[in-house]
């Protein structure tokens, strides 16, 4: 019946299908993408949910230690998300709404921590403020034990500050200064202007940023392991169940528990916030209009704040370098290359990380743009489903993805465990939403008429895609490439279950070395990681010059 009525309309399913039939290549591409989603997202997740028995579920729900871990997870991640957001907002506000001296410096420094795994901030924290920390013990001779929720809070705030800053900065940039200038002309100023215009306009974007940071910190693995100590959270507990207690079904249950809050967050973000978005649509700031809306006192307070944050970040990176290249920092300051040789030069893990991350970056960028092109510019049945599936992984904690993949692909025709392939699949799934999101926003800013002209001149979808879309999206492409490369190099939770003796990764090495107490080699590996990322970007910039956009995230 529906088919019959649709036959008469021009926009129904039937006409969409008829249009597809004229372009077999397009049909093939759509089919392949759906097959990919089915194999790598839907199938593993069903498998994961089917593993635990009813008894496991009951045990997990009634078990006191698991309830405790659940509460800890929510409490600690919401707390550190809130503080990271406040700091990120102040920093981003200072960068976008003032003309502070040294803004370029502040901008670069804020991005530095994202070049290393979040666990590096925990590592630096232990080295500086731990029970034998350089500051707490060597300098101040204090007897403190900051392992536990407090230390975790401090560390996670620093660890997630860059993410909060980057997202909030994006939100603030997208607010048109016209509205604020208009309000200023009408007499609003100071805090009143901030509260009634800026904050009002930024709220939906801020809420989205909050949720993004929250999802990441809910699933974070390294710092709870390293700094949380006896303060167990779901991510570490799921890992311990699988690896320590040999209880895979329980690990699966706990990772499902972790998905519940993140999925709720995802749906709120997607179906509530996006519909109530106040963000002005003109997009980029209007050239020539600079907004200076803060009083001198506030300006200097912000300056002091930015200095404090930047110094903290430089302190973290500094102490990691010092530990990496001195024999025993705090006791023996002899320069040594031993740790760097052991952790970086003699270890194949950095090379593995680089290879996997590069492949991932290529895949996510291409897949992202292909998906964006299809969902935005082509009409076919199941478009909304495709859009949903491409964004879904953003809400899935890394441990969940890792466990699901390993259960799905440990046997059968697609046996991939113990290879680098499964690592790349995991990373790609995790980064896909970034590539997709980036491509969607890039594509939305491009006029359709160019593509239509291409089509009118006889080009099919594939030709249009390669000849028109890809070159025009150069900028968004390079951003998602850089971003997914960096995130993949640094990811921990996604790959912890996927690595094998032959295919160990540098981020895991840093965490496990630090966790066993080998702070020096862990530091050296972290330095090697940052150097690798810098060198890669430097090289890319040298070769591609203006073809790639790296440092302007």
């Amino acid at each position: 019946m529906q088919a019959a009525s649709a036959g008469r309309e021009q926009t129904g399913w039937a006409s969409e299908i008829r249009a597809l039939r004229r372009e077999p290549q397009l049909l093939l591409a759509i089919g392949l993408l759906f097959l990919m989603f089915a194999v790598f997202i839907i199938y593993p997740f069903i498998k994961l949910i089917l593993v635990p028995s009813a008894l496991d579920w009951a045990l997990a729900i009634t078990g006191k230690e698991f309830q405790e871990a659940f509460v800890h997870t929510l409490f600690s991640s919401l707390l550190s998300t809130a503080s990271a957001m406040v700091m990120g907002f102040l920093y981003a506000y200072a960068m976008n709404y003032t003309d502070l001296p040294g803004r370029r410096f502040f901008q670069v420094v804020a991005l530095l921590p994202s070049m290393a795994p979040t666990v590096v901030s925990g590592l630096a924290f232990i080295m500086l403020f731990g029970r034998r920390g350089f500051i707490t013990y060597n300098l101040l001779d204090l007897k403190v034990d900051l392992y536990g929720w407090f230390g975790l809070w401090v560390v996670q705030t620093i660890a997630f500050f860059p993410l909060a800053y980057i997202t909030i900065s994006g939100v603030l940039k997208s607010i048109s200064p016209n509205l604020e200038l208009a309000a200023q002309n009408l007499g609003a100023k100071g805090f009143y202007l901030f509260r009634t215009v800026t904050l009002r306009l930024a709220t939906p974007g801020l809420a989205s940023a909050f949720l993004l940071v929250a999802i990441n910190s809910l699933a974070d693995f390294g710092n709870p392991m390293l700094v949380g100590a006896n303060y167990h959270v779901l991510a570490t507990e799921a890992y311990a169940q699988v690896v320590g207690a040999w209880n895979l079904p329980m690990g699966a249950v706990l990772s499902v528990f972790l998905v519940i809050p993140t999925l709720i967050v995802f749906f709120i973000q997607r179906y509530y916030l996006e519909k109530n978005s106040y963000v002005t649509v003109t997009g980029k700031p209007v050239a020539g209009l600079t907004r200076v809306t803060v009083s001198p006192a506030v300006r200097w307070m912000l300056f002091a704040f930015c200095c404090f944050i930047s110094l903290s970040i430089l302190l973290i990176i500094g102490v990691v370098c010092l530990f990496a290249f001195t024999r025993t920092f705090g006791f023996d300051y002899t320069f040594t290359m031993d740790y760097f040789i052991e952790g970086v030069l003699q270890s194949s893990s950095l090379k593995n990380s680089w290879m996997a991350s590069m492949t991932t970056a290529v895949f996510t960028t291409l897949l992202g743009i292909a998906l964006a092109f299809l969902t935005l510019r082509r009409r076919f049945p199941g478009r909304a489903v495709m859009d949903f599936l491409a964004m879904l992984p953003v809400s899935l904690p890394g441990t969940f993805i890792g466990l699901a993949l390993i259960m799905a692909f440990n046997s059968g025709p697609l046996e991939m465990t113990g290879t680098l392939v499964i690592v790349v699949v995991g990373m790609t799934l995790r980064q896909l939403p970034v590539g997709y999101r980036q491509a969607v926003s890039g594509l939305s800013q491009i006029e359709k008429s160019l593509e239509q002209a291409s089509t009118n001149l006889g080009a099919d979808s594939l030709t249009t895609f390669w000849k028109i879309i890809v070159p025009m999206l150069k900028n968004s492409l390079s951003v998602s490439f850089v971003y997914s490369f960096m995130r993949s190099m640094n990811t921990l939770s996604t790959v912890i279950f996927l690595i094998s003796p032959e295919w160990n990764l540098a981020s895991i090495n840093i965490m496990s070395l630090a966790n066993q107490g080998f702070l020096t080699v862990a530091s050296a590996t972290a330095v090697g990681m940052m150097l690798t990322i810098f060198l890669t970007f430097g090289l890319a910039k040298l070769i591609l010059r203006d073809q790639i956009n790296i440092f302007d995230l």
Binding site: V51, E65, G130, R131, R132, D145, Y147, M225, A229, N230, Y239, A240, V242, V243, G244, A245, W246, L248, I406, M407, N410, S411, T417, G418, I496, F497, L498, I499, S500, P501, N504, I508, N509, S512, N515, Q516, G517, F518, L519
Partner: protein, 349 residues
């Protein structure tokens, strides 16, 4: 669903976070040139090894010098080796599984993966360190010990409290927040501690003692090795874990005073022949070699373990095997059965 195989992939993480019972570090010295028989020249033997790399290389070299046989090996942590052995049950790729704690060797015996082999050299070993049914043989022994950071003890505690040498000493309130030990639920070292204390003292008294100690413990770690490292660094004063781990840290310069406490729990690192081993004669010869004094010496030097062969050297700073106050009646099989119930009880203390 094939859980075992799946577990193989997980255990890579485990190998780094959960220190494998039978592993070690330290520098390797060259073994004395053995009288070469070279009877297996041109042959090869394939091993799955759960020792550290340098120990394995040292043993492979010694065996080759003695017999002329080539040694091929893949290094796998205990849990992962188990997973792989089970997966390959019908067509084993290796001849011998070397290393790995005895509870895992017991499991392989029960699964029908390993096979009987009576070595002419097993008479070198005390009877307790050889399987009564002839499946596994012990190579070296890991014993629990109380480790104390020497520098910190001398600076902060000397004169005020006695150096702790037995478990009851750990109940002293002066040590509150200064003890670190592995979590029995997550680490083999931790579960060896828990089950041996309970077996030796009986459940009620054992758990009572552990409850008191737990109140003083600052951190329960998922890895058996971490406590030694953090004690060596001075973060914590006292560690309770395997002696060899403490000595590995101590020998690198961060001095730990280790005491094997009375009735200390222990475990063996075993060697077993695999059923259907492709290279039968070489496998037997390798197991014979593992019972020798030279092999014992190599393990002591590279891993700081205590060799099961009493003629082998003792690690520097440790007493000979027969002088250690070990809990002689420790029952591996019983410990394995009770482990889950006991770890749950310990968590609730």
């Amino acid at each position: 669903m094939n859980f075992k195989k799946m577990a193989a992939a997980f255990l890579t993480g485990a190998c780094m976070l959960t220190a494998i019972g039978c592993g070690g570090g330290g520098g390797g010295e060259k073994p004395k040139d053995a009288k070469a028989e070279q009877s297996l020249k041109g042959k090869e033997v394939v091993l799955y090894v759960s020792f550290h790399e340098d120990t394995t290389k040292e043993l492979a070299k010694g065996f080759k010098e003695k017999t002329g046989c080539e040694v091929k090996f893949i290094r796998l942590p205990t849990g992962e080796a188990v997973a792989r052995l089970i997966a390959e049950k019908d067509a084993p790729k290796a001849d011998v599984w070397l290393g790995g704690t005895i509870d895992a060797h017991e499991k392989m015996k029960a699964e029908g993966i390993t096979t009987k082999y009576t070595s002419p050299d097993e008479k070198n070993l005390p009877a307790a360190y050889v399987d009564k049914d002839g499946f596994w043989k012990g190579t070296y022994l890991e014993t629990l010990a109380i480790g104390v950071n020497e520098a910190r003890f001398n600076k902060e505690f000397k004169g005020k409290v006695e150096m702790p040498t037995k478990l009851e000493d750990l109940l002293n309130p002066a040590f509150k927040g200064e003890i670190i030990m592995p979590d029995p639920a997550k680490s083999g070292t931790g579960s060896t501690f828990l089950t041996s204390v309970v077996q030796c003292m009986g459940e009620e008294k054992g758990l009572e003692l552990l409850k008191g100690i737990k109140a003083n413990v600052a951190q329960l770690t998922p890895s058996g090795f971490t406590p030694a490292q953090k004690c060596g660094a001075g973060e914590f004063l006292i560690t309770v874990n395997f002696l060899s781990d403490q000595m590995n840290v101590s020998n690198k310069g961060q001095k730990i005073i280790s005491t094997v406490f009375p009735n200390a729990g222990w475990t063996l690192c075993g060697v077993s022949k695999l059923k259907g081993a492709p290279h039968d004669a070489a496998a037997n010869a390798f197991i014979d070699y593992m019972m020798s004094k030279e092999a014992g010496d190599a393990m002591v030097k590279t891993a700081n373990g205590i060799a099961c062969n009493p003629k082998s050297i003792t690690p520097a700073g440790s007493k000979p095997l027969n002088e250690l106050p070990l809990y002689k009646d420790y029952d591996f099989a019983k410990a394995g059965k009770e482990k889950d119930a006991l770890t749950a009880k310990f968590a609730g203390l």
